[in-house]
Amino acid sequence: MAKVYGAVTIDSRRCKGCELCVVACPCDVLQLQPKEVNDRGYHFAYASKPEACIGCAACATVCPDACIEVYRVVDRGN
């Protein structure tokens, strides 16, 4: 069966830490930084479990600041 690998890159400078991507992710890949903040003082989102990402782009679809880019590779095993 084909296996899907995904990855996200998050513009941490632009992220406002609204947490909507964390809620939208079906695989619990994303979290907000518990302590670290960006220049504007927001706890920005990061991929805490990047290996679980399937590249579905649900996070990017709900991001109000368009700071998430999504990559996907479908490995069909050949």
Binding site: E19, V23, A66, R72, D75
Partner: protein, 253 residues
């Protein structure tokens, strides 16, 4: 598979829309405006309308929309976006003209302009962001505020005796002969965002095809005004707002 093998240009499935400017939005974290701006920017690029579009910016939180989407814009006086859009579309029939308005702008001070532009069947798209509150000025009651909803000017909740009833203006607009497409959408889940994008696309196509006025209401959140987190706002909206403002097409001709 390692992240560096996945994060390559050929594997990119979602990128920041090229029509969004590099400027950071002034919106609060989690504001629905950002999502709708993104959808508009995506659609204008996908439909090849970047050089053919005139947007009319409102007064309200979205007053600086012209800073964020890289197309031609005109800034209207409060509530007068449909009147300005009428002029822009009649004088430039080859352009796709849309307004982007909030509920205080469209449903309060701009009621007359909105209703008459829709009644004349102007070839424009009206994108109406309904978050049931005046966000920019500090969370005062709007015409669309729900009964019982607490705002800065209804601290004990809106009552019908004192404040009248919430105004579902989109339902009124659907009754007018000039409108060809009236729909109500939301952007609180990935599925809803995709549906909303389809609705805005249809509205833009109607405007290009000169079929009359298209109105896309987006039931939205104002987490700062509602005093909730963005995620809680989405839940509150699904629980309370959709009862008064149910999603779906009201008119599709």
């Amino acid at each position: 598979m390692k992240p560096e093998d996945i994060i390559r240009p050929e594997n990119k499935v979602y990128a920041r829309p090229e029509l969004l400017t590099d400027r950071d939005t002034h919106y609060c974290p989690g504001c629905s405006h950002g999502v709708v701006h993104r959808l508009v920017a995506e659609l204008l690029a996908e439909m090849g309308l970047a050089d053919k579009t005139i947007g009319i910016a409102p007064v309200g939180c979205a007053v600086f929309a012209y800073n964020y989407i890289n197309v031609d814009w005109i800034e209207a006086a409060h509530g007068r976006a449909p009147a300005l859009a009428t002029a822009a579309s009649r004088l430039n029939p080859d352009r796709m003209v849309f307004t982007y308005q909030g509920d205080g702008d469209l449903a309060a001070i701009g009621t007359a302009e909105t209703i008459h532009a829709c009644n004349r069947g102007e070839n424009i798209t009206i994108i109406f962001i309904n978050n049931a509150i005046y966000g920019m000025t500090g969370g005062q009651m709007a015409p669309t505020t729900l009964l019982g909803m607490k705002t800065a000017t209804t601290p004990y909740g809106r009552t019908a005796e004192l404040n009248g009833y919430p105004l579902a203006i989109t339902n009124l607009l659907a009754q007018l002969d000039g409108t060809c497409y009236v729909t109500r959408q939301a952007v609180h889940t990935p599925a809803a965002v995709r549906k909303a994008k389809g609705a805005i696309k249809k509205a833009f196509e109607n405007t290009l095809g000169k079929r009359g006025t298209s109105v896309v209401e987006i039931v939205a959140t104002c987490n700062s005004g509602w005093k909730l987190t963005p995620a809680q706002s989405n839940e509150w909206m699904a629980e309370h707002m959709f009862a008064k403002y149910p999603l779906g097409d009201l008119k599709n001709e």
